[in-house]
Amino acid sequence: MTTRVLFDEPGPRGRARIRLWTVVALVVLAGLLALALWQFGRNGQLGRSRWAPFLSPDYIAFLGAGLRGTLVATALGAVFSFPLGVVLALGRLSSTRPVRWAATAYVELFRGVPLLLLIYAFLLALPRFGINLPILAKLVVPIVLVNTAVIAEIVRAGVKAVDHGQAEAAAALGLRDGATMRLVVLPQAVRLVVPALVTQLVALLKDSTLGYVVSYPELMKQGNNLTVYTHLLVQTYLIVAVIYVVANLLLSRLATYLEGRLGARVRGRVTGTPAEAQQAMV
């Protein structure tokens, strides 16, 4: 897709220039690829013996177990942070001031503190006070704490995007505030933010890589364990990275698909940009 904002349909001279640049770009890109391969080859990393082991059932099972760990941590993170995020969003929208303030403080706090710092706190500091969670919980609890805040913001945007007339109609029908939210506004809001929530799964999956720090055997840690025995560092970490990218691409595609299903009527109404584009950074 070209954006036609910046230039017109090119004329004959423009087309000639584009052809020239196309050739230059192709040469440069091919050169970069060749350079990378040459660098691998020069250091003896291209040999069959350095890559073939990854096709053996043992290696696949080992990394597969890691992928399972990643999916477990991601799923647990989602199962807890999605409902808690909805509750927190309701807190931020509450008409009771102290509740609203508390919910806002929580969101600001956990969106401004790095996940790794929280994980270190659960891993190193809290055990001294007798709070020694199982390893998986040391990973998942901080992930849930942080992601609840993010999800609350997504859901809040969804609630705000629901047409005001809906709440007014519910009030006219005699529903109380709580019932209006529960029966009328929230179901529509959640439907609006489903793509954004799927995108948030990508963030959760990325967060689960911190299992590497707490030694929970997810994909990153399993990859690391594998290198201890095999010393195939660059190969293992490249393959692990590719697995992550493929898994996340599938989730991103799902989000785009769901957004398409929702139709143009609501697309982009929540935050103005497609769900895929607002992917969180870390």
């Binding site: 070209t2 954006t3 770009a25 890109l29 503190v113 560092l233």
Partner: protein
Amino acid sequence: MGVVLDNLGFLLGGLLTTLELTVLAFAGALVLGTVLAVCRVSPVRPLRIAGAVYVEVLRNMPLLSLLVLFVFGLPDIGLTFSLFASAAICLAVFGAAFVCEAVRGGINTVPVGQAEAARALGFTFGQSLRHVILPPALAAMVQPLVNIFIGVVLGSSLAAAVGVSELTNRTQVLNLQSAEAVVLFLVSGAMYLAIALLGGAAGGWLERRVAR
């Protein structure tokens, strides 16, 4: 509280490293991201495809995976950088994918008709960019860029996991030496929070300035 005061210099040194890492990486991400965005909107097909592939891959790769690949994997093919440089490069390369999308998103918010009108009025490419397209596009970019800045701040903490002695790493080191652990984490957390909130406030100010 004693442990914080006794090691204040050590902690502040970590904060400084975090800030250096953030500023360098964010600056690098801005430059690289803008170049990528130019590639993605250019009429040259291979550049568009290369830009799209870069963005899709980097945005879907966990930062820690990239860091570990860079720090522990690249020496295998004869590329070695200092830990600090590795972390800065990874953060910049990673952030660039997000900056690219923010810049592209900003340009796309400008209605096509405005650019066409500028061309119809005989504006050159540079003039239409400077007077017509960039002012609203920049205003639309500020908020996403601020989010990316905060992402870089928080992301820089991951450098601790590969051994860069920045704020998170030093907090964890001090924690192992002392019993007053929780205070340390609260102080470091407050430092990160302060950077994030200040970054957000600066972004809000900038947005008002640019929008005018």
